[in-house]
Amino acid sequence: MDKLIYLYGIIPANADNAIPPMKGIDEHNPIFTIPFGEIEAVVCNLDEAEYREKELEAKTNNMEWVHEKAFHHHEALMTLYEIFTIIPMKFCTIYSGKDSLQNTIVEHKPKMIELLDVIAGKEEWIMKIYCDNSKLKENVAEDNPTIASKREEIELLSPGRQYLEKRKLDQLIEQETDKEKDSFSSRLHDQFAQFSTDSEVKKNWNKDVTGREEDMCWNSVYMLEQSTVEDFLANVQKAQDKWKSSGWFIEVTGPWPSYHFSKIS
């Protein structure tokens, strides 16, 4: 029976450096490589009865399965990434057999060779900025000159007018805080992006996703030459120390395989 092929990623051809032994996504079949000239596909076989389209769809509707296997996919890529330059494939890239894998690889091979050359010796680092919203609001209320003078004006009004004007002022503080979040974060982003060969601003996640008290106000990713990673991180650390007391939390994770900056088509 024809076997399905799960594709993890593409690495440069290497005669002397075998991939470490790892079990595939089904926890049974081994992960191995198929050579295609200058490049190699890192794959594992899958039983068609269990992983054909209908079965796979049922599996992917089970979020527990998705989370566990997505973790496996990433873990395998991280192991490979420590040794090789790798083009990481999206989770669950599955081919119906060796022929269809071969057709796809042959079609995209020139691009893949080019891409491997571009991402070699580079690392992805992700930065997220969180902020303590109430602290930030306090700071804005204290430091913003427009708000300070508004406040003085309000003190002179009748109690009824004061109530209304204070509500307006609260809204103004809210707006100014949002502006401050954006301008602070994008300034920092510009500073960090200088170290990178490429960067991308990602969507912020809401609190339901992060499970944190602080608001996420920035989410971005940087492609760094290995030689600039130290400088980049030194700058991150400096910014962390400098801004923590004002309610800004700057967090970085990495190195990641080139998930964001590997593009074939």
Binding site: M63, E64, A70, F71, F91, C92, G211, T253
Partner: protein, 87 residues
């Protein structure tokens, strides 16, 4: 290499992995078409997240520990808290 040691592979959350693996990575369409591509994290159900964190810790004890099981525990507590507050 002091800075690198300070940051390398630390504080990586499950959600970070899901984000890059489900949403990013090279997509060359295989023969099997998957509905999972381009899943929007914002719409992931909270309870699903929690159950998955538990599954991950149980079934992947060793690797999860390497990655930082403390972090997962922390997230789970946080998520529990969020649900209790909103429920």
């Amino acid at each position: 290499m002091s800075q690198r040691k300070e940051f390398e592979n630390k504080d990586v959350a499950l959600i970070d992995i899901l984000d890059v693996v489900l949403d990013k990575g090279v997509a060359i369409k295989g023969d099997l078409i998957l509905s999972i591509a381009g899943i929007d994290l914002v719409y992931l159900d909270l309870r699903v997240l929690i159950s998955s964190v538990e599954t991950l810790i149980e079934s992947n004890q060793e690797t999860a520990e390497q990655l930082s099981s403390k972090r997962f525990d922390y997230e789970k507590e946080e998520l529990d808290r969020v649900i209790n507050e909103s429920g």
